[in-house]
């Protein structure tokens, strides 16, 4: 019941994010304790008592230099540690042959697989609604697009978040490390149906994934552009 920490991490770069999070957590936590203890201690020690006069001082240059330089150094250090992780997560795209297109719309995730020919925009593309299936330990590239407003692709357990902007194609990547079923909420306000706009990411073992792909992606598929089976129901909900 007392849940109060990061959800379990199941992606490769999530570890880097959690490590930085914890580092900052301990640095800021220690600072908060020091400052608060000093504040309360001063309020007690220097409380108004008869016959005492306050110390007449306008400051102390060495002290002021110290408390300028020390925070500055800590912040430089944090910057230096943040930049490489950021660069690895957001600025580089590892090579992969596993690409999925995600097209967001009010209020669904449409997940498109290229089909057996491995190319998007052909007749054998397969689009699923609000569910994504990927193999474990494999770099997955998602190409994010939006049909209407800005949405945000958020998988808490992957520590992955990226806004999906209409008029742009934004490529992102992740590599899941543990099979399972992970929630995929939309994290950017996108209208009255924003709350509840969510999907699931299914991370399979390679064998399970091959089985799923054979059943779903390579099986005789309806022509491209056909809506998935359960779409009309959701459309109705969205138009309510």
């Amino acid at each position: 019941m007392l849940d109060w920490w990061l959800p379990e991490n199941v992606s490769t770069y999530g570890k880097d994010i959690d490590w930085l999070f914890q580092l900052i957590y301990y640095i800021t936590g220690a600072t908060l304790v020091l400052v608060s203890v000093a504040l309360v201690a001063f309020l007690w020690i220097y409380r108004d008592r008869p016959g005492r006069r306050a110390r007449y001082t306008h400051g102390s240059t060495p002290l002021e230099i110290a408390w300028t330089v020390v925070p500055a150094l800590i912040l430089v250090l944090l910057t230096a540690l943040s930049v490489p992780a950021w660069s690895r997560i957001k600025m580089t795209q590892p090579d992969t042959d596993f690409v999925v297109e995600v097209t967001a719309k009010q209020f669904n995730w449409q997940i498109t697989y290229p089909g057996p020919d491995g190319r998007f925009g052909t007749a054998d593309d397969k689009t699923l609604l609000d569910e994504m299936h990927v193999p474990v330990n494999k770099v997955v590239r998602v190409v994010l697009k939006s049909q209407d407003v800005i949405h945000s692709f958020f998988v808490p357990q992957f520590r992955m978040k990226q806004d999906v902007v209409p008029g742009r194609e934004i490529a992102q990547w992740f590599e899941a490390t543990k099979p399972g079923k992970y929630e995929l909420p939309c994290a950017e306000l996108c209208g009255f149906g924003h709350s509840g706009m969510k999907g699931w990411v299914y991370v399979h073992t390679p064998a399970d994934y091959a089985k799923w792909a054979a059943e779903t992606l390579t099986a005789a598929t309806p022509p491209a552009g056909d809506a998935p089976r359960d779409e009309p129901r959701r459309e109705e909900k969205a138009k309510r």
Partner: protein, 580 residues
């Protein structure tokens, strides 16, 4: 300067003004300050009520909100998603633009600047009056949005395009238009006000009041005015552009017409980050004013305090991209904004340590204004430290758009700005209204507010760490959030307590206004110029000659000076003579 004060002198003799010119269309900076204060306090009731509606829905989703059945008759008081979106959009809009800005920059900016630099009024009194009435019109326009078909703006206070710029995406039509028009008018109001503040501070200081003898609250308001002058026009222009998109069919932000949704975010946050400092700088100034008075000590590191505010003002223009790390903006740019954002934390750290330095060795009296100022310092520390998580781009990927951000902004704007505003109200109330506030009611207001504030906003960090998105209508729709739901219940109970804790404040304010004991000239034994004018100061502030300034603003506990405060106006010769 001499021309202005000469003409001011000429007015001293004939200032019998009617009711309308004294209380409504007044050009007196003190009355305009009071008007801004009342505007802000009235709007705070609405903003607070909206907050409680939001909290009810999050703790007990889709159950009738007590009392709301009277307004939302069709649903029996149950919030619908579109109404919920409207509630949080308007809560933030009202609190930021119609509560904190009017109270701190508008109210105390107007009241304090002439009184603390020794001027008879603002440089442009008529412009000053127009500034208030423009803000008033903006308020009316903003309130009108609640009554139009389709409801009020519901795209968040950030109104991201194209959600806010295309009618079909929210179904909100004139609500959003009025929101944009209101902010446009408010932008004009703030421009008139800020030009006035800047001119007054530069040109109308009393003899001897050099820039570095100015109280730090005046420094903070002066820098705030510069930020207002440079930031608000960007929002004003962006609001006009979005209104054109909505009404005239332009495509500034619409990709299908060749527009760019991210352009809105760049414009909005180019305004929005300096705006954060517009909200917090005056509160920093207020704390720097009150801490020395009740510690009976000079402020620690006056110059560092002034220069760190100047540094914040410069840096605040180059950090705005930290709101857009995951927006789709080039990630290389994100890296640059990380560096600048980490740097801007340094001046805030300097200020915090200097406030602690001010307390060190003091003779501290925990009066009601002092308690609120201390709450400002300690809550601002939490808000500042939680900001470091966001500055680190990889961590921000995870916490962006979660309750962690909501916790952070409330520690800065409520824990910071609102505690600063309470401190200022309790501290300057005797000067503003000529009466003392009630001490017992002040404590009865402060302590529950402080406790319930933390009970409300601290657990939001925990929700954010758990991944709880902001702006969602019903957390129970998500499996991973269900185990966290009891935090939402706890937060809502805290919020209700926080609302109730404001009742002693309201009682104290109005009781003291009419029946409080008469305030002496200088009830706190402070050194700055406003305490040399009568309480409340008359039209043109000082009867005969303007005060002359002989020293800096924080000469407390000067050795060999009998009293523990040496006012700025005591001539150097007399001060010397009293030494032995």
């Amino acid at each position: 300067m001499s021309v202005i004060s000469a003409s001011a002198h000429a007015h001293v003799e004939h200032h019998e003004l009617g009711f309308l010119r004294t209380y409504v269309f007044s050009t007196d900076h003190k009355m305009i300050g009071r008007q801004f204060l009342f505007l802000g306090l009235m709007m705070m009731i609405l903003g607070g009520a909206l907050a409680l509606v939001i909290r009810w829905q999050l703790a007990w989703p889709e159950t009738p909100v007590p009392g709301l059945g009277l307004i939302l008759r069709e649903t029996g008081g149950i919030l619908e998603p579109s109404t919920y979106n409207m509630a949080f959009t308007m809560h933030a809009t009202i609190m930021i633009f119609f509560v904190v800005m009017p109270i701190l920059a508008g109210g105390f900016g107007n009241f304090l600047i002439p009184l603390m630099i020794g001027a008879r009024d603002m440089a442009f009194p008529v412009l000053n009056m127009l500034s208030f009435w423009a803000a008033f019109v903006a308020g009316i326009l903003m309130l009108a949005g609640f009554f139009v078909p389709g409801g009020h703006a519901a795209a968040g206070w950030t109104s991201y395009a194209p959600l806010a710029s295309v009618v079909e995406y929210t179904g909100v039509n004139w609500g959003q238009n009025l929101w944009l028009i209101s902010l446009f008018v408010l932008g004009i109001s703030s421009m008139m006000g800020s030009i006035n503040y800047i001119t007054t501070v530069i040109n109308m200081r009393a003899p001897g009041m050099s820039m570095f003898r100015m109280p730090l609250v005046i420094w903070s308001l002066f820098i705030t005015a510069i930020l207002l002058l440079l930031a608000l026009p960007v929002l004003t222009s962006a609001a006009a552009m979005m209104l054109f998109d909505r009404v005239l069919g332009t495509s500034w932000f619409r990709p299908s017409g060749g527009g760019e949704p991210l352009l809105w975010q760049h414009l909005f946050w180019y305004f929005g980050h300096p705006e954060v400092y517009i909200l917090i700088l005056p509160a920093m100034g207020i704390a720097s004013e009150i801490l020395p008075v009740f510690a009976r000590k000079p402020i620690f590191g006056y110059h560092a305090m002034a220069f760190s505010m100047i540094a914040i003002a410069f840096l605040s223009w180059v950090v705005y991209g930290h709101h857009m790390f995951v927006s789709g903006m080039n990630p290389a740019l994100g890296m640059a904004f990380t560096v600048s954002t980490m740097i801007i934390a340094v001046p805030s750290a300097i200020k915090t340590f200097n406030w602690l330095g001010t307390l060190w060795g003091g003779r501290i009296r925990l009066t009601v204004p002092m308690l609120n100022a201390l709450a400002f310092v300690s809550m601002f520390v939490i808000g500042g430290l939680s900001g470091i998580f966001m500055a680190s781009t990889p961590v921000d990927i995870y916490i962006q758009d979660t309750y962690y951000i909501v916790a952070h902004i409330h520690y800065v704007v409520f824990g910071g700005s609102i505690f600063g505003a309470f401190a200022a109200i309790y501290y300057w109330f005797p000067k503003m209204f000529g009466r003392m506030t009630n001490r017992a009611l002040g404590h009865l207001h402060f302590w529950p507010t402080f406790v319930f504030f933390n009970m409300t906003f601290f657990p939001m960090h925990i929700l954010g760490i758990g991944g709880h998105m902001r702006r969602i209508y019903n957390p129970l729709q998500y499996e991973f959030l269900q185990p966290l739901q009891w935090w939402n219940v706890l937060i809502t109970i805290g919020a209700i307590g926080l609302g109730l804790a404001q009742l002693p404040f309201v009682i104290n304010f109005f009781w003291s206004l009419f029946a409080g004991p008469r305030a002496p000239l200088n009830p706190w034994n402070a050194t700055t110029l406003e305490w040399t004018a009568p309480s409340p100061p008359p039209h043109l502030n000082w009867g005969g000659a303007l005060p002359t300034v002989y020293r800096g603003p924080y000469e407390y506990s000067v050795p060999e000076w009998a009293e523990d405060f040496l006012p700025q106006t005591v001539p150097a010769a007399r001060a010397g003579a009293r030494r032995h």
